[in-house]
Symmetry: C4
Subunit: 326 residues, 4 copies
Amino acid sequence: MRYRRLGRAGLQVSELSLGSWVTYHNQVNVNAAVEMMAAAFDAGVNFFDNAEAYAAGESETVMGQALKKLGWNRLDYVVSTKFFWGLPGQHGPVNRKNTLNRKYLMQAIDGSLQRFGLAHLDLVYCHRPDPNTPIEETVHAMSDMITQGKALYWGTSEWSAAEIRAAWDIAERHHLHKPVVEQPQYHLFHRRKVEHEYARLYDDIGLGLTTWSPLASGLLTGKYSAGVPADSRGALQDMGFLREGLTDAAKNAAVQQLAPIAAELGGTTAQLAIAWATKNPHVSSVITGASKVSQLQSNLGALAIADKLTPEVMARIEEITGKLAD
Amino acid sequence: MRYRRLGRAGLQVSELSLGSWVTYHNQVNVNAAVEMMAAAFDAGVNFFDNAEAYAAGESETVMGQALKKLGWNRLDYVVSTKFFWGLPGQHGPVNRKNTLNRKYLMQAIDGSLQRFGLAHLDLVYCHRPDPNTPIEETVHAMSDMITQGKALYWGTSEWSAAEIRAAWDIAERHHLHKPVVEQPQYHLFHRRKVEHEYARLYDDIGLGLTTWSPLASGLLTGKYSAGVPADSRGALQDMGFLREGLTDAAKNAAVQQLAPIAAELGGTTAQLAIAWATKNPHVSSVITGASKVSQLQSNLGALAIADKLTPEVMARIEEITGKLAD
Amino acid sequence: MRYRRLGRAGLQVSELSLGSWVTYHNQVNVNAAVEMMAAAFDAGVNFFDNAEAYAAGESETVMGQALKKLGWNRLDYVVSTKFFWGLPGQHGPVNRKNTLNRKYLMQAIDGSLQRFGLAHLDLVYCHRPDPNTPIEETVHAMSDMITQGKALYWGTSEWSAAEIRAAWDIAERHHLHKPVVEQPQYHLFHRRKVEHEYARLYDDIGLGLTTWSPLASGLLTGKYSAGVPADSRGALQDMGFLREGLTDAAKNAAVQQLAPIAAELGGTTAQLAIAWATKNPHVSSVITGASKVSQLQSNLGALAIADKLTPEVMARIEEITGKLAD
Amino acid sequence: MRYRRLGRAGLQVSELSLGSWVTYHNQVNVNAAVEMMAAAFDAGVNFFDNAEAYAAGESETVMGQALKKLGWNRLDYVVSTKFFWGLPGQHGPVNRKNTLNRKYLMQAIDGSLQRFGLAHLDLVYCHRPDPNTPIEETVHAMSDMITQGKALYWGTSEWSAAEIRAAWDIAERHHLHKPVVEQPQYHLFHRRKVEHEYARLYDDIGLGLTTWSPLASGLLTGKYSAGVPADSRGALQDMGFLREGLTDAAKNAAVQQLAPIAAELGGTTAQLAIAWATKNPHVSSVITGASKVSQLQSNLGALAIADKLTPEVMARIEEITGKLAD
């Protein structure tokens, strides 16, 4: 496993990391989490991604219990969570969902630490931007988590370049802890933010990236080329919002064209897609998901493929996918 | 219930909120508070206003015990208190009453938290300006409460525009937590501060407002048009200072003229007066009082009336009350 | 009793206050301290002055035990201590005496709080300037005591105007808690610092003063006019450094001339001297000492004399003492 | 013993101090440490140097247990540690070795305090510069240790002048605790950093120095002039990296020439070398090592030699060693 700095920050994360979205609690219980995290850790993975909203807090609980069983030294792993979506409550979303206000954030971190059973989290993200809270209020709250020792670094997820820069500027002006990382969606068919919108931020503020959905929710595995398989994520009741994208004809055709390239390199289309994401030097870690150890091992195989992605191969991939990417 | 941001802050409060001045401890015991707060909460009220000085601390104790019985999730309600008037002591007012000095404030917050039985308050107000303490000393103390996790937001009550701006500027310059809200008296007969003096603050510093006395201590209910009823607040021994205002002939006549308008809209004069206050977009929440659940329900009826306050109706109200307002 | 703000700070202290130098532990035990502090408190005194170095820490212990027995509400009194002289140790003065370095200060406050048995002190003073520690280091440490809640306000004692201003400027620039008070020696024969050197500081930074030795160690009582009485402070073994000043012929002669003026006003020379110190509007509190309740009561009598110090009387006093003052 | 300020900081350290590198745990157990530290302390040594990496944490444990047995007053000694090299872990060096990132530093201080059994350390050093962590991240973490009360002062070891200045500037700009000391290697054959590279820092930022290896790992004792003795540090398996330097012919010849000068002054070559280091007024403390009390006593004899290092003697030493120094 190779490790990369989180942008300009001194923290180093493994090129491939393990996320818990969708899977933990729903498909993965504590024992399965222990098994999968142990396999990942043994392969060198040191970053485990989570969020308060995943399975309404249960994903944090499962991962926390797994960490306790695994008993790793706290220095050897990086664990994150994210705040914004919140958990259901009596008054609906007021001050507890879809917000980054101080009240929510200060209580959210305490809830997460309790579910994880940890004294601190390494990384805390603002899961989405909140147009209804001043960025200054959010920056102050996130920075306070670090000052209080409840977190070590903070970042954003799916914020605009302007919002990230505003947060950084406020932190610089008021001498607060600055955001160091953004977590955007990034795969062969979704590139604009990472490659264009954020372009100046890498140098200007040293932004790091941990990217999600390297397989475009499974589209890049090729398994949706003949429709939605019954046992796939696309078939899950709550994931209806993904269905249209997963069955896009042009994109599925392109995935079919990638298959022989992957085969040439000795891998699968999925491995090729993950490997492609790691080629971007601004990406610190590509977050992968898995509900079985075999799937995890397959994902980790992408690292070997990445070594074979010569400029020539990259050009062939670009020709197939470039015109379809947003 | 609708919710509004507290000025530019990310915190959202219900358009109508429930105050405890006069009533708690004096007219409302813990069981009655539980009943009334539950009714308000079920109707969507999420903001409960209090102050150290209300019933000399007993109002906080009553509300704290009620909150404990109600057992709501801490994210679902916003509770405030205010500091300035203090509690009686051996040396009279020195450093404990009518002050915003650091000694008083740092001990006052601890006393309030203990009476409430809460780990933090959402909102803490400077109940009045203190000409004998530098604003910088007060701002530093209020900001320290937030840094220490004892409060989440702070504001002022009945401060001048110049004082509020001074506090905001000091906080900006020294990188402290800024005041986000002012709590002024605001009703049909008392408008100058809200509508003129503070005018520039809404845009310049994003000031929010929680307003008190929407019924002008009962004058706007119409019950003082024939003198002071024996069972009214105006008849209470400690409230003598209100009596003159409550029996003002011109104002009582105007209230009589509002009655048919209210009736046309299907409500009472009191509901019309509360509804009118909510029409001001700078008002985040109108604090209402009640000593009985029926009175609370009646107050909440104002929301339906507010929907019927068309520009034409507002003009008729203005014609009747505008010339009498200070 | 009248109260004055501590310079521009919001804290109010009684015009006369009670110090513990020399007396506590040496001449005053816990029971006597309780008796004397109770008498002072009943007369309105709210400020009790102390220092780590008084009786090598024992003065703090005695006062702390007295406060515990008295059981006053914490808001009703102001208690101070001072750091610099330190306590004896194995390596001599290194890092523990005659210093204001961070190591000493951070441990000194913890030691004082423990001896007092208090959660916080109201006022903490740098007992002398330390030319061997950067003022920035000292300012940061004193400010940290306030941020940590161990103290509420800080000041200096016998610092030069330039040093006080430097401390204030550093605190302003680095957004730290500023010094609010200086404790200088001040009496009829010692005025230069208060009346000239500090002159600009009162307006520029709002400096307050708590002054010590209003009786010039007893010289202004008149009891040294015929030599050093056997039971006086001047006769104490450790107080040899005071002896020369106490027996100054010209000053003792002047004191004799003050006696008839004091008698005219119905008081003693000592009361006249204390009253004179309170006439300076920049003085927040005159610290008096006493080893017996009767002496304390006599000191408090100065307040009545102060009311009789007309401009004409002040001019007569000035004529007698002005030329002898340094 | 004489004491010097740590550069411009108010902390005073003994001209000679006692380090634990190589010796503690390996050659010195708790009882021996007690004996040696007691002898040093009795001779006036007040500074005891350590590092997390010495004997992989065991050196801190040994010194902590010795301190507990010795029972000195906390004000009377200064104890340091250093962070960078880290301890071995499961993923190799990622985030735990050769780093100054926030994750490592915040956990390293807690680990050190636990091994020492102390509530705070007096001095914490960044043991080496880390090119892979922004200096701002490191400065913020080191300053946070002080704000949290876990350390009192911080500094660097073997940083470049530019790095030290960058750290100081960042702390000044963001109002954080500044670095006050650097710990460089400094002896007759290694001078460039101290005498040239850092030259402007002494005045500009008040940098202090605690220097290590005054005997050039033993070369300056003269015992390597006939090769590497079997019982010397140079013969230790882990110290192979020192061997080449220790057997340098020209340097060993120079050491032979120093012997008669040392004898003239009544001391050994080793004492002469230590004494020479203390003559540099920018050096706050020369850290010496010892595995036996006799060796410690011999080192302390250097203080007497230092008094005899007249300009003439210094010139003779310079002639012998100057051309060989880097």
